[in-house]
Point group: D2
Chain length 141, copies 4
Amino acid sequence: MYSYERRLQWSECDPGGIVFFPNYAKWAVDGLNDMLQSSGYVPNRKLAHGEMEGIPCVEFNMRFFGAPGLHATVRHEIAVIRSGTTSFTVRHRFCSESGTYAEILDTRVWSVHGEDGLRKSPLPPEVVAILNDHLDPPNPE
Amino acid sequence: MYSYERRLQWSECDPGGIVFFPNYAKWAVDGLNDMLQSSGYVPNRKLAHGEMEGIPCVEFNMRFFGAPGLHATVRHEIAVIRSGTTSFTVRHRFCSESGTYAEILDTRVWSVHGEDGLRKSPLPPEVVAILNDHLDPPNPE
Amino acid sequence: MYSYERRLQWSECDPGGIVFFPNYAKWAVDGLNDMLQSSGYVPNRKLAHGEMEGIPCVEFNMRFFGAPGLHATVRHEIAVIRSGTTSFTVRHRFCSESGTYAEILDTRVWSVHGEDGLRKSPLPPEVVAILNDHLDPPNPE
Amino acid sequence: MYSYERRLQWSECDPGGIVFFPNYAKWAVDGLNDMLQSSGYVPNRKLAHGEMEGIPCVEFNMRFFGAPGLHATVRHEIAVIRSGTTSFTVRHRFCSESGTYAEILDTRVWSVHGEDGLRKSPLPPEVVAILNDHLDPPNPE
């Protein structure tokens, strides 16, 4: 599992003084990229001919159990729950010591941004290895 | 059904040149508020004692079928698919003439932001009437 | 002068219930693109060899006189105050009937995003014509 | 001087693959709050009667010298250049080892968000002390 903590900022709260929930989706994108990058794989690489790797989302299911307020410390945990040939699913959990704020199931497809839009592509072996390292439950050996 | 069109802006696209998908969640929030407001109900009203009405989300399920590129005209359709005592569910569809980009099921709870956080509250009769007007399939009469 | 109106959305306000001011910078970017596009010039065009036109900002000076609250109708006015060979300056004014909320001086450079970053490029004649149409004070004829 | 580093995220870049510049304004807001909070003063405190402290901006002047690309490490430095009775000015510098990307002069007014909007208020002594600790050039003693 990959995790880090963030303090909920003024820029991220709504007029009710709690998190503006679309920010969870942004943190899910940035956090997954950070998981790859901190494990040695730079995501969204530039490829030949002006193409670029991407990890577009095909399904993103959010459930909310409580909302952090301004200045709350939020822990973001990312666990891989499925790893396939061209796609994978992670579970994001946003929580504090007192419980879970939100849980997200996030399915991505390994892709190339080319002239004609997005096309899917097999997960690179380095990425498969990183995903396996973050499986929940862990792989038996 | 409530709908409007928006042009996909530079500020809303990612380095791949397509929509940054968390923006759909933002449009869902703003679009639902617009539906209420254009039907005569100002959402997020200030109440007595510094309290405020709110419509927090409890579940938000997004599926993506294709991604609009910079400058694309995106139509946002909102239909109410369930209306209860304190909560309701809407379906957001983002589409163009050539098909559907994304579909979202969005469940909200009518609430009050007070001193001690959020507490749920019955849907006001004016809101029930607006939701009924946007039911899909429409109510038989 | 180019202008349009927007209602201040829940997504755009801070926990104080007023506009989160960095949104003015976002509206300045999108509004200027809209001015060009509604005048017949699609900005940020794709060029040959994976290059793209851009209009990066070199100076952006904001002054604030008051802050609109949630649901306020904000009028955004854009006037061109200088048009040069490769750069130009516009003035953004955000206001309502009761006065000016913010004023911005925004200097942009016509550019190409290429392999080696940004390089400046002369303003296309169609763009010069559009800028002249929005000069304040207007060109004497 | 207060400083920290951030990696430029996918969510923060535009279709040209470089920083979307309004994010600098967001980082300026959050970074200044972090400077206060890491020095022991929680900003945007709730006061009695549903009021809240705030630090609205009255002037914000940005100059850009270069643009970081996706994944760049950006150092954000905040120095206080003026501290008055109810207002103060900070300089934000965004840079890397190879130079300065952007510089911002940011003037704020200490305020209270009340029923009737914002009203200014003297800087609390703890805040004056924190600002003095971050003066550039430093106070002679």
